[in-house]
């Protein structure tokens, strides 16, 4: 087996190699660390590597395999997770100075799931501080670079996750998506990213940004890997009150069910409002390709779409202002060195510990919840939320899926939008309605713009019907013809 090529493989290809014992997990893990050493100085996807632990674990899994033990399909596959998922004994910083020294004494439920499936954790990935941002520039560590063009952002907030997968620095990665933080970087980096239905992946141990919107999901090289990854991370968790108690399917079953006769809606609002022309074109081409396979495509209107973004920023910031109040310098994390009294300690700690964007959201959220403003902002936003949910419900009475661009532009230059928060927020315009409605959506690459930057399209589905998205994405993936396959790092 040619070791050099292992990192380029998908998780399901590695799975087959491991199963047929053509390669060991240790070899794969070493190969990935070699790759990381080779390219991560350029990409900067990782914050923390846990090489010793990973190699120990790989050898342990290899031994289990040699001993003939029954293993999970993804046993021995190396993955990495966004640095907002708590990992026992491994630093979890949320890319914030305020948690710079935080080592959780517990694992997030998804981390437990990965370990139970004998998967190998390579390290923790870069992100926008507390998952607030669309470029991974708001990291207290360093910005991450887009593997397709190192001067460009990888998107965010799960920019480290998307970049790591695109640059073959992990077989797949986990990110979190509050308003598009998995799908938008997947779009920018040309990988597959899914935000599952709210409640289908436990949030226990995911450091909260906006509790009613946050959801963990995978970023993978292809749709089959997505199905395998979902099999590992979805499921009911009694530690999370918002976790759904349903029968979770084997998502790989969905892949080969075909798409003939499925009805897909194209909401025209998602193709307006400053959407880059090439993106529009590529998404419509993709729709054509699906049509050829027997999918019925129809244009529809979702006129509440314009209200999703303001509602999202109010709700997410309000929840964030409360969720982030615990970082006060008392119990863990950063504490200011100089202060006069308790109040001053709070102020100095939070002023020095949080970055600009996080402070902006805390102030926005605090304001929206303040007495006298609650009804006009938070309450109104919740009402909008209910309406948007209904809008999707109605649409799903007729359609199996909604197809839109994942974002209005392709990856922008590092530094280009840092001083323009509103323009930065506009990046989320296609993705936030999904979080507001709590439904699943997947982004998959559907081409490149004339600068060679990836373009993603978004498939939105009914709650708990991730399988429908996988069906369509898989059918599309099997038939698409792309100009390029790999970023040339």
């Amino acid at each position: 087996m040619d070791d050099e090529m292992l990192y380029k493989k998908t998780a399901h290809e590695l799975k087959d190699l491991l199963k047929s014992k053509q390669v060991s997990s240790e070899e794969i893990v070493k190969n990935f660390y070699d790759r990381i050493e080779q390219v991560d100085s350029k990409v900067k996807a990782y914050i923390t590597l846990c090489k010793d632990k990973a190699l120990d674990k790989a050898r342990e899994v290899d031994k289990k395999r040699v001993d003939g033990q029954q293993l999970s399909p993804l046993a021995g596959i190396p993955i990495a997770v966004k640095d907002n998922m708590c990992t026992k004994g491994i630093k979890t910083t949320c890319a914030s100075k305020i948690l710079d020294n935080f080592v959780p004494p517990y694992n997030a439920t998804v981390i437990e799931n990965l370990y139970q499936n004998d998967m190998i954790l390579l390290g923790k990935l870069n992100m926008d501080e507390f998952a607030m941002g669309s470029s991974t520039e708001n990291s207290s560590h360093y910005p991450t670079h887009n593997p397709w063009n190192l001067e460009r952002v990888p998107g965010g907030s799960s920019g480290g996750s998307a970049a790591a997968v695109a640059a073959h620095e992990a077989a797949f990665a986990l990110g979190s998506d509050t308003g598009g933080s998995i799908r938008q970087p997947a779009h920018y980096c040309g990988v597959v990213g899914m935000k599952p239905t709210y409640g289908s992946v436990s949030r226990y141990g995911l450091v909260a940004f906006a509790s009613s919107l946050d959801q963990i999901g995978p970023l993978t090289k292809d749709v089959e890997d997505m199905a395998l990854a979902l099999n590992v991370i979805t499921g009911h968790d009694k530690m999370d009150s918002s976790s759904a108690l349903i029968d979770y399917p084997d998502y790989t079953d969905a892949l080969k069910q075909g798409v003939k006769g499925l009805k897909v809606a194209l909401p025209k609002e998602y193709f307006e409002q400053g959407v880059q022309k090439e993106i529009k074109d590529k998404v419509l081409q993709a729709a054509k390709l699906l049509e050829k396979q027997g999918v019925i495509i129809e244009e529809v209107s979702m006129d509440l779409t314009q209200y999703a973004l303001p509602a999202y920023y109010l709700i997410s910031s309000a929840e964030a202002s409360s969720n982030l109040a615990r970082y006060d310098g008392i119990k863990y994390g950063y504490r200011a060195k100089n202060y006069d009294d308790l109040l001053d300690m709070y102020k100095q700690t939070r002023d020095e510990g949080f970055g600009k964007e996080v402070k902006r959201r805390i102030m926005l959220g605090t304001y929206a919840l303040s007495s006298g403003y609650y009804d006009a902002y938070y309450k109104k936003a919740q009402q909008v939320r209910t309406l948007i949910k209904k809008d999707f419900d109605t649409l799903f009475d007729t359609y199996d899926c909604v197809l839109t661009p994942t974002g209005p532009t392709t990856a922008f230059k590092i530094g280009e939008k840092v001083d323009n928060p509103i323009e930065m927020y506009m990046n989320d315009i296609c993705t936030v309605p999904v979080n507001i409605a709590g439904i699943p959506a997947l982004s998959i690459n559907c081409g490149f713009d004339n600068e060679g930057l990836p373009i993603g399209m978004q498939l939105i589905g009914k709650a708990f019907n991730e399988s429908m998205l996988l069906r369509l994405a898989y059918a599309y993936e099997q038939n698409r013809v792309l100009d390029k396959n790999q970023p040339s790092l």
Binding site: M85, P105, A325, Y346
Partner: protein
């Protein structure tokens, strides 16, 4: 000026720790004491990423308290975050309930100077307790998170209370109900029952409420009563001297016996309540409410009525016994085993109460079964032992826990009631005490007591006194 021109208007917010085994949102122990920070986990210390899961017992206990105070129960209730910074609050928000509490619109009856009055209960909601700051000498303060996440109910009354006596009566009644329903230990010294007092004054006859002040965290009935009395006078003095009462939070300074301003309305927190997104609404269907209702014990008011009506107890006595559920249960168990129920009640109120301190009354830590008490009363009733002997028997029961019949048997304490035997002795005593006999026969009725004393001396106190008197009178009559 005259204080009696004014009416005092008081509403209470009583916080009571629920006696669930584990905390409200995690599985940590709720046990009091314990080394600092040993009863806590990542969840109750608010570590990043952790999530709360409601202990269902907490909602059940709150509903039980609600039903015992005639509250309506919200079938759809939710939890909210109350945001503020303090080192004892690790998440910097307290999960509480804002606009949809579990229970609302209830009432309890209190009695002050024989007058019965209904006090409205605005609402009862659940919330989590905070930790404790320890200010030790030396540098800085320490935080103990053991208490963090202990479940509380907050019982908010209507502004229906008018005096410190009513405040005391209300708190005592509430405490009794919480103990009866077994939802709280109500140990004030352990902080499991504390209250905030909202108080304003107005001229008698006025319909509008005056400006109120709030006094926080009173953890003793006595302090609450004193604080109410002081604060009412203070406000009246302010008004009488032409000033206005400032809406503010005040603190009771027990050492000085005064209330002191803590923070004004302007400095008050904006708690920024909003629905707790990490917890689902609490949905309680009618069947569940009814199932909880079935677990309620008979409450004190009903018991007092029954003790007076059925058992013929004096109201005061009935109240004394019904003040604690365990004592009332003990009494009822004894009452089932004797015809002389009043007798059993008297023994409890006198001898039992005398031997128990306040705490023990609640636990009814009596060293013998209620059946034993009934048996003892029955032994008096059938003449086997005298009241005087019963006291000794009781003493022995208390120290050994033996049954009264065993004690009577073993000590040979049995009363002599045999007529022949007693007649013989009576004749003997009359013969030996001519002086007393003469006195009696010449009209000094009391002289018979001397003869009686002699009878008791001979029998070592075992003679049935009623019979002795009768027999002595018979014999003396023969001499006349």
């Amino acid at each position: 000026m005259s204080y009696s021109d004014y009416e005092v208007v008081i509403g209470l917010e009583v916080h009571s720790e629920l006696k669930t085994k584990s905390k409200i949102y995690c599985s940590c122990s709720t046990e009091f004491g314990g080394e600092p920070n040993t009863h806590c986990c990542p969840i109750c210390t608010g570590m990043p990423g952790t999530l709360p899961v409601l202990n269902e017992k907490v909602a059940e206990y709150a509903i039980r308290a609600g039903l015992a105070t005639q509250c309506k129960i919200n079938k759809f209730s939710k939890q909210d975050r109350k945001n503020y910074f303090y080192p004892d609050l690790p998440k910097a928000y307290q999960v509480s309930q804002y606009d949809l509490p579990l229970c609302y619109e209830g009432e309890i009856e209190i009695k002050v100077k024989d007058e019965v009055k209904k006090i409205g209960i605005t609402r009862i909601h659940i919330e989590e307790d905070a930790g404790k700051l320890i200010h030790e000498s030396g540098e800085g303060s320490l935080v103990d998170y053991n208490r963090c996440g202990i479940p509380l109910i907050e019982i908010v009354s209507e502004p229906d209370l008018r005096s410190s006596e009513e405040v005391r009566a209300y708190m005592e009644k509430l405490r009794t109900i919480l103990l009866y329903t077994d939802v709280s230990d109500c140990k004030m010294n352990e902080g499991s029952l504390r209250c905030d007092i909202n108080l304003s004054v107005r001229k008698k006859g006025a319909t509008e409420l005056g400006t109120r002040t709030e006094m926080k965290n009173m953890n003793s009935f006595n302090f609450a009563v004193k604080a109410v009395e002081y604060e009412a006078r203070r406000q009246i003095r302010v008004l009488e001297s032409g000033g206005t009462v400032v809406q503010e939070t005040r603190r009771w300074d027990e050492a000085k016996g005064i209330t002191v301003s803590m923070r004004s309305k302007e400095e008050a927190h904006d708690y920024r309540y909003f629905p707790e997104p990490d917890l689902m609404p609490i949905v309680t269907p009618e069947e569940k409410i009814e199932a909880i209702r079935k677990t309620l014990p008979e409450l004190p008011d009903s018991r007092i009525n029954r003790y007076v009506g059925e058992y013929g107890l004096k109201e005061k006595d009935a109240e004394l016994i019904a003040a604690s559920r365990s004592m009332a249960d003990y009494f009822q168990a004894a009452a089932h085993k004797t015809k002389n129920i009043k007798g059993a009640a008297n023994w409890i109120i006198t001898e039992v109460f005398y031997r128990l301190n306040e705490d023990e009354k609640e636990q009814a830590s009596i060293p013998f079964q209620p059946e034993f008490l009934a048996e003892m009363v029955n032994l008096i009733e059938d003449g086997t032992i005298s009241n005087r002997m019963a006291k000794q028997v009781f003493e022995k029961m208390w120290s050994t826990g033996q049954t009264p019949s065993t004690i009577v048997e073993e000590s040979g304490m049995k009363q002599i009631s045999d007529d022949d035997e007693l007649s013989k002795l009576a004749v003997e005593v009359i013969q030996k005490n001519p002086k007393a006999v003469q006195d009696y026969l010449s009209g000094k009725q009391a002289a018979i007591q001397a003869l009686m004393g002699q009878m008791m001396k001979i029998t070592k106190g075992k003679a049935n006194p009623k019979k002795v008197i009768d027999l002595l009178k018979d014999q003396l009559a023969k001499l006349n």
